[in-house]
C-alpha cells in the first residue's frame, strides 16, 4: 500500500459568493498520507486554515462512500479526478505523486452557479426531476410484483440508468455543459419499466423543456460524460431519450 507521505501543492478555487469573482489560491500541504481520501486531504487543509484563523474551503460532501452524489470537485481538468468510475470521496491520495500540483475547481456551468468556493447550486437538477421524473401512483394496495413481468435485459438496463446519483459530473465535463446524460438516465429508468409507460411521452417533453429552460447546453456526442460518469451511465440513454422525444413530438397524438 503506502510507501511514504507526500508533499503537495494545491491550487484551489476560492470564491466568496455568487456575486464576487473568484481566483485560484495556492496551498502547500506536507506529510499527506497516500491512504487518505481526497476529501480527507481537504479536511486536513481546512483544519490548518482554521488554526491559522483563515476561512476554510467550502465543499460539498455527505456520505463519503460514493452513493449520495454530493461531492463535486473538478480535479486537474477532470470531474472526480483521474480515476474512472469513482466519486471524489472514493479517490485516494495514492492516485497522486509526491510533489504534485493539484488544481481543484468547482463544476462550471451557467445552470450550476457557484455558492461558495467549490460548492455549486445543483437545484436545476431537482427542478428537472420535478418537471416529470416520477410516476403518478394512485392510492390502493400494491399489486403482486409478479403481475408485471419485465424482461431481464429491460430490468437490468433500467437499473443501470437508475444508478445515476445526480452529481453533475456529466455537465461539468461536457464542453457544452449539457445535462443530457443526467436527464436521459432519469427518463430511461422509468421509460424502460411498465410503471413508467402511462406518462412516458409526457415526461420526456416536460423534462427536456425544463432542461432547456435551466440553460444547459446542447449535446454534441463527444462521449465525455459517459467516460467521466462515476456510475458508468451509458450514452445509449441519450439515444433513447432522443427517440422518445421524436416519438412524443411526431407520433404521439397527446400534446403537452
Amino acid at each position: 500500500m503506502s510507501t511514504g507521505n507526500m508533499n503537495l501543492t494545491l491550487k484551489v478555487w476560492r470564491q466568496k459568493n455568487n456575486k464576487t469573482k473568484g481566483a485560484l489560491v495556492d496551498y502547500k500541504l506536507t506529510d499527506i498520507s497516500p491512504d487518505m481520501s481526497f476529501l480527507e486531504m481537504f479536511d486536513v487543509l481546512n483544519e490548518q486554515l482554521i488554526n491559522k484563523g483563515e476561512e476554510p474551503v467550502v465543499f460539498d460532501h455527505d456520505c463519503r462512500e460514493g452513493i449520495c452524489g454530493m461531492c463535486s470537485m473538478f480535479i486537474n481538468g477532470r470531474p472526480h479526478g483521474p480515476k474512472d468510475l469513482v466519486t471524489t470521496c472514493q479517490l485516494h491520495m495514492r492516485s497522486f505523486k509526491d510533489g504534485d500540483t493539484i488544481v481543484v475547481e468547482p463544476w462550471r456551468a451557467a445552470a450550476f452557479p457557484v455558492v461558495k468556493d467549490l460548492t455549486v447550486d445543483r437545484s436545476a437538477f431537482d427542478r428537472i426531476i420535478a418537471a416529470g421524473g416520477f410516476i403518478s401512483v394512485n392510492t390502493g394496495n400494491a399489486q403482486d410484483a409478479n403481475n408485471l413481468p419485465i424482461p431481464k435485459m429491460q430490468a437490468d438496463a433500467a437499473f443501470e440508468a437508475a444508478a445515476c446519483i445526480g452529481c453533475g459530473a456529466c455537465v461539468a465535463t461536457c464542453k457544452n455543459a449539457s445535462a443530457m446524460l443526467f436527464v436521459s438516465a432519469k427518463i430511461s429508468q422509468l421509460a424502460l419499466l411498465p410503471q413508467g409507460q402511462p406518462e412516458r411521452y409526457r415526461r420526456v417533453q416536460s423534462m427536456v423543456a425544463q432542461m432547456d429552460a435551466e440553460g444547459f447546453g446542447n449535446c454534441t456526442n463527444t462521449g465525455a460524460c459517459e467516460a467521466e460518469c462515476p456510475k458508468g451511465i451509458s450514452l445509449e440513454n441519450i439515444a433513447r431519450m432522443n427517440r422518445d422525444f421524436a416519438s412524443a413530438k411526431f407520433i404521439s397524438e397527446e400534446t403537452v
Binding site: G77, E105, N176, S178, T222, A239, N242, F250, V256
Partner: protein, 226 residues
C-alpha cells in the same frame, strides 16, 4: 400552436436538424465523389464530362441542388446557433481542462473543422460551380459536351490550390469521423446489434471519401491521368 409544439426549437429538435442535414450531406458526398471518380477511367475526361453534363441538365438533379443548398445552409446556421448557445452555457471556463482524457479532439472541434470546410467550400464553389453554372465552360470535348475536365486540369496546376484542397480533405475526414456516427446517435438510432456496423461504416466512409477526393487534384497535378 400546432401539435408539433417546440419540436425543432428544443435542444433535441435542433440536434435532429443537425443530424438529418448531416446525413443528407453524407449522401450527397457519395454522389459527388462517385461522379468525380469517373476521371480515373483515364479517357481524357470524356466519361466524366458525360456525368457532368447530366448533372448540369437533368431537372431532378437541378431541383436536388436547391434542396442541397437549403440543407447545407440549415446545417451551418443551426451549428452557429448551437455553438453560441453552448458557449453561453459555460460562461466561466476551467483553468485546467483535460479533454483528451475523455473524448477525441475532433469530436470537440466540429465547429473549427466545419469552419475550415466552409472556407474551402467558398473556394471550391468559385472554382467549379460558378464556372459551370454562370460564367460558362470555354471549350467542348470530342462528344460535344462542355469540357469541365479541361477546367479541372487547368485549376489543379496551381500548387497552392492543391495544398488547400488536400488540407480541406483532412478537415473533411475528421469532421466525418465524428459526424457520421454522431448523426445516428442524435437521431436515436442506437442499437446494440447495429452500433458496431454504424461505427465501422463511419470510419471507412470518412477515410475512403476523403482519400478519393484528395486523389483527384493530386492525380491531375502530378499528371497521373491524361
Amino acid at each position: 400552436m400546432s401539435g408539433f409544439g417546440n419540436a425543432f426549437s428544443s435542444s433535441i429538435g435542433k440536434k435532429f436538424i443537425m443530424g438529418i442535414t448531416g446525413l443528407f450531406l453524407i449522401l450527397f458526398l457519395i454522389v459527388h465523389c462517385g461522379i468525380n471518380a469517373l476521371i480515373f477511367i483515364n479517357d481524357g475526361g470524356l466519361t466524366f464530362n458525360i456525368g457532368a453534363h447530366f448533372m448540369a441538365t437533368n431537372w431532378i438533379i437541378r431541383a436536388g441542388e436547391i434542396v442541397l443548398f437549403i440543407g447545407l445552409l440549415a446545417h451551418i446556421f443551426q451549428a452557429l446557433r448551437l455553438t453560441l448557445q453552448n458557449q453561453k452555457a459555460r460562461p466561466v471556463k476551467y483553468a485546467v481542462n483535460n479533454g483528451n482524457a475523455n473524448s477525441k479532439w475532433y469530436s470537440r472541434s466540429m465547429g473549427l473543422l466545419g469552419t475550415l470546410l466552409l472556407i474551402f467550400l467558398v473556394v471550391h464553389l468559385k472554382d467549379f460551380w460558378v464556372v459551370s453554372r454562370f460564367t460558362g465552360i470555354p471549350t467542348v470535348d470530342a462528344n460535344g459536351h462542355e469540357d469541365l475536365y479541361a477546367v479541372m486540369k487547368e485549376k489543379f496546376q496551381d500548387p497552392v490550390r492543391l495544398a488547400v484542397y488536400i488540407l480541406a480533405m483532412f478537415s473533411l475526414c475528421y469532421h466525418l469521423l465524428h459526424g457520421f456516427a454522431s448523426a445516428f446517435q442524435t437521431m436515436g438510432w442506437n442499437h446494440s446489434k447495429y452500433n458496431g456496423i454504424i461505427k465501422g461504416a463511419g470510419v471507412w466512409y470518412s477515410i475512403i471519401i476523403s482519400i478519393l477526393f484528395a486523389a483527384m487534384p493530386i492525380a491531375v497535378y502530378f499528371g497521373l491521368i491524361q
